[in-house]
Amino acid sequence: MKMRSSAILSELVDRWLTKVATLIAVYVTFRGHNAPGGGFAGGLLLGAAFVLQFLAGDEPSIRRRPIRNPEMLLGVGLLAAFGTTLAPLIAGGSPLESYIWKLDVPVIGEVKFVSSTLFDLGVFAVVVAVVLMILRALGTEGAGVSAHRGRAASRDQGGAPR
């Protein structure tokens, strides 16, 4: 059974949390090159948001949204990291060599983009995917935490080794 407060919370989380968290996570990832943050922290942040969403709502929300296929995300992340590692080889450089591009965007001013940011985005994707995969694996058996407790307890009585 579900309490009302839980429903409100879940709706709030559904509507706002992931969007805001995604924004923050991406921001943290990009700022990482010059200030505390980075792909790993960003990924964990978004992962934490998903965990909160999962805890607040019921588990189907994790199935439905926001990323239907975390395995795909995992692959994309690994590919991005591998790609940025190997890409300089094509240009005759050494693996993982950084390239820095500077763009002069009107109004905003100079924007600097470093190729290793792509690598960091790969890390970000991998971390998010890992969190989602584990969450889905461990979180989706049974209907929910409360329902599960009973089952686990009854198993304890029957199957306790000593």
């Binding site: 090159h33 690598f119 979180g139």
Partner: protein, 766 residues
């Protein structure tokens, strides 16, 4: 350059077939025929008549001195022509052979990939390039033997072939490595100039021989080749008779001039070749399956080639080159011919294949010619080349090696004549009625065959052409022989000789006549229906070794992988702590210095962390333990923050949070309390390990801190961070740039761990 284009084009057709043209294998095969024909024309245009050898190289790993070098010298021309022309012929044949067969697309793809690899192998100018293509051919051979992947025996044969040739390939690699390190090159011409000698050259020579002998099915590694007959006939004809098994011979031919005087080289090559030749001939005489007869005869003929390239006198090299050509032509014809018979009447039993004679007179005649060429009977090409081999061996010094080689080859030749004649008798036998039931059972496809002219031409065409070439080349032996002088000279500058249709009466001819007479009598009297022979000894030894290895692996796994978490963790920690203790004891470093003690607040947080850690150990409910563990993590995050490491602190905080959640989720399906004792690891032991590790690790950290002998790399990172990597946050720049490879490895581990968790849970849920 064009040579690489040719190799690439062959691979490209292979790849295209496997990916894009699965539904249109016939189209792919036609494309393959065109590419192979173009390659042959290219080789002929470039290689024949030109004064200088054209070569080309692609830089690959210049640091290690490894580049892909190909050349088109005389020998390479001959081999490349064999590979491409025979490849095209077999591919045409396969069009009809595989009709209505679902595996045809796979066959064409793998076949073309193999052709490309083999083409590269024969053109290779150094051992490294040869090795690369060598290994590729092993892989394609494995896949082609196992083409019928539903058959257990085919799969087993494929594994045997792969493991045998693969092990040989590793030996070859080791030999190449030794030569590269010792002489700084693996190029044939440069090695010849360097003239290797001494222990390293000796070791390298043995390793190269192991590679060559496994690939070319020399005793005692000959057993995989008959097994490989599980493959469809076109595969057997092309890979396991005409081309791939010649790779070892090519290696011998190229390296014999280099190593001829090194240690055991000559002895080993000659003895292995002789034993293989006699053994193969003997088995060929007893087999009932015509395809197996041909397989063992291939083994036997490879033995002859090994001897010829091993003895290394000027006539022998020439005879070897000539016999490679003769053998490839008549053996392809024979294999394809047996394939036609099998296709038409549904049996390869030597006591029954005579039934095909009436239905297919042309094919039968062609097979007879090829058989005569194999027996070495005038006026076919096989006669001229076999004759040359005898001349070469009679010309040898009569030292021990020379006598063994001559005697062995004479006995082997008798057997060759004998099995050829036996097969000839089987083909010509008229007293067998075609087994109607069998023909009917062989499916209605045959009905089409009998009506379809195109199919019949595609099937018999290559057989007939091969026989015609054997005959024509035999009649014009002098001309053909003159073409083979340059190729032999490219292997050994002293090589001389010529072929002749009628050499005049000499020692060799008399020997030959005796050999043919004795062989014919044996062959004529040999029974066609032998009771089935037992499995080859080599095969049994291989299987024994294989099974023992597997059993041993299982036993070791059972001992080391007990499945008990306390034992895993205990062992891991003990080994790590043991290493640290060793470091502390051996170096006896100072333990103080380099450490800055922090504020009292840090001490407070540390104490909190310690108390929580004790809580983890003593808490009975798992739930509480998990929370305590999280608490320890948070406290450490606070310490990081106090020491001015915001990146670490944030990450630690987030990781701890997620870990607790994951922990709690996992706990839902576990017992709620920890057990009092786990398995057979007593509490005292676990306590001891925990306390010991807890003491050793901080001690080591203190010692490490106190005994720094170089400045910390931190300053350098700070200095380089903004300029080279374009970032101000050094921590992040280290992660994604300076030490990016580490991060790469870490995320891979993370990904694998996640996949592991998912599968574990999925499995437990079942």
């Amino acid at each position: 350059m064009m040579l690489f284009v040719a190799i690439f084009a062959q691979f490209a057709v292979g790849g295209l077939t496997l990916v894009g043209l699965r539904r249109r294998p016939a189209l792919a095969a036609a494309l393959g025929v065109v590419v192979l024909a173009c390659s042959a024309v290219l080789v002929a245009a470039r290689g024949i008549g030109g004064a200088e050898t054209s070569s080309y190289s692609v830089r690959w790993l210049p640091i290690l001195g490894f580049n892909l070098n190909v050349q088109l010298d005389g020998f390479a021309v001959v081999m490349a022509l064999l590979v491409s022309v025979l490849g095209a012929a077999v591919l045409v044949y396969s069009l009809a052979y595989f009709e209505h067969d679902g595996t045809y697309a796979r066959f064409v793809g793998l076949f073309m990939a193999f052709a490309g690899s083999m083409f590269g192998l024969v053109l290779a100018e150094d051992l490294f390039t040869m090795f690369v293509f060598w290994e590729l051919t092993s892989v394609w051979s494995f896949l082609l033997i196992g083409l019928n992947d539903k058959s257990t025996s085919a799969r087993q044969a494929a594994v045997r072939a792969l493991l045998t040739t693969g092990a040989g390939g590793l030996c070859l690699l080791a030999g190449v490595g030794i030569l590269q390190v010792q002489y700084g090159t693996t190029s044939f011409s440069e090695l010849l100039a360097a003239g290797p000698s001494g222990n390293f050259a000796h070791a390298a020579a043995i390793l190269l021989l192991l590679g060559a002998f496994t690939k070319s099915a020399q005793f005692p590694f000959h057993f995989w080749l008959p097994g490989a007959m599980a493959a469809p006939t076109p595969v057997s004809a092309y890979l396991h008779s005409a081309t791939m098994v010649k790779a070892g011979i090519v290696l011998l031919a190229r390296t014999s001039p280099i190593f001829a005087d090194v240690g055991v080289w000559r002895w080993w090559v000659v003895v292995a070749g002789v034993v293989t030749m006699v053994l193969g001939g003997w088995r060929a005489l007893r087999e009932v399956d015509a395809k197996l007869v041909l397989a063992y005869s291939t083994v036997s003929q490879l033995g002859l080639l090994t001897v010829l390239f091993g003895v290394g006198n000027r006539y022998a090299t020439y005879a070897g080159v000539a016999h490679i050509v003769a053998h490839a032509i008549f053996k392809v014809g024979l294999f394809l011919g047996v394939g036609v018979i099998d296709h038409e009447i549904g049996t390869r039993d030597v006591s029954k294949i005579g039934a095909a004679r009436r239905a297919m007179p042309t094919t039968t005649l062609a097979m007879v010619l090829s058989l005569l060429s194999m027996a070495g009977i005038i006026p076919l090409l096989g006669f001229a080349t076999k004759e040359k081999a005898l001349v070469a061996l009679l010309d040898l010094e009569r030292d021990a090696v020379g006598v063994v080689a001559l005697a062995g080859v004479v006995v082997g030749s008798v057997l060759s004549v004998a099995y050829s004649i036996r097969l000839l008798r089987a083909v010509l036998r008229s007293d067998v009625a075609p087994e109607r039931s069998q023909v009917a059972a062989h499916s209605s496809v045959d009905a089409d065959h009998h009506s379809s002219v195109a199919v019949r031409i595609a099937l018999s065409g290559p057989v007939v052409v091969a026989a015609a070439v054997s005959l024509a080349a035999g009649l014009t032996a002098a001309t053909v022989g003159s073409w083979l002088v340059a190729p032999s000279k490219s292997l050994d500058v002293n090589a001389v000789s010529k072929l002749a249709l009628w050499p005049g009466i000499n020692d060799a001819l008399i020997t030959s006549a005796i050999v043919i007479a004795v062989g014919a009598v044996i062959g004529w009297r040999a029974p066609l229906s032998q009771s089935a022979t037992s499995a080859a000894t080599g095969e049994r030894v291989f299987d024994g070794l294989y099974d023992t290895t597997m059993r041993l692996a299982k036993r070791i796994t059972a001992v080391t992988q007990s499945g008990s978490l306390p034992i895993y963790v205990g062992v891991t920690l003990l080994v790590a702590a043991g290493g640290l203790v060793a470091g502390l004891v051996i170096d006896a470093p100072r333990l103080t210095g380099g450490v800055s003690w922090g504020s009292p607040l840090e001490a407070l947080v540390s104490i909190v962390a310690m108390v929580l850690a004790v809580g983890v150990a003593v808490a009975r409910p798992r739930f509480a333990g998990a929370l305590f563990l999280g608490g320890v993590g948070y406290a450490i995050a606070v310490l990081f923050a106090m020491r001015g490491a915001p990146d670490l602190a944030t990450t630690q905080l987030l990781v701890e949070t997620l870990t607790i959640v994951v922990f709690l989720l996992a706990l839902r399906s576990m017992t709620q309390k920890t057990g009092t004792h786990v398995g057979w690891t007593p509490r005292v032991l676990r306590l001891g390990i925990a306390v010991g590790v807890g003491i050793v690790v901080p001690l080591f950290l203190l010692a490490a801190r106190a005994s720094r002998i170089r400045p910390s790399p931190a300053q350098e990172y700070f200095a380089r961070s903004l300029d080279e990597a374009g970032g101000r946050n050094v921590v992040n720049v280290i992660l994604v740039d300076f030490r990016g490879f580490d991060t790469m490895g870490e995320i891979v581990v993370l990904a694998v761990a996640a996949l592991g968790v998912v599968n574990l849970v999925r499995r437990a849920a079942r």
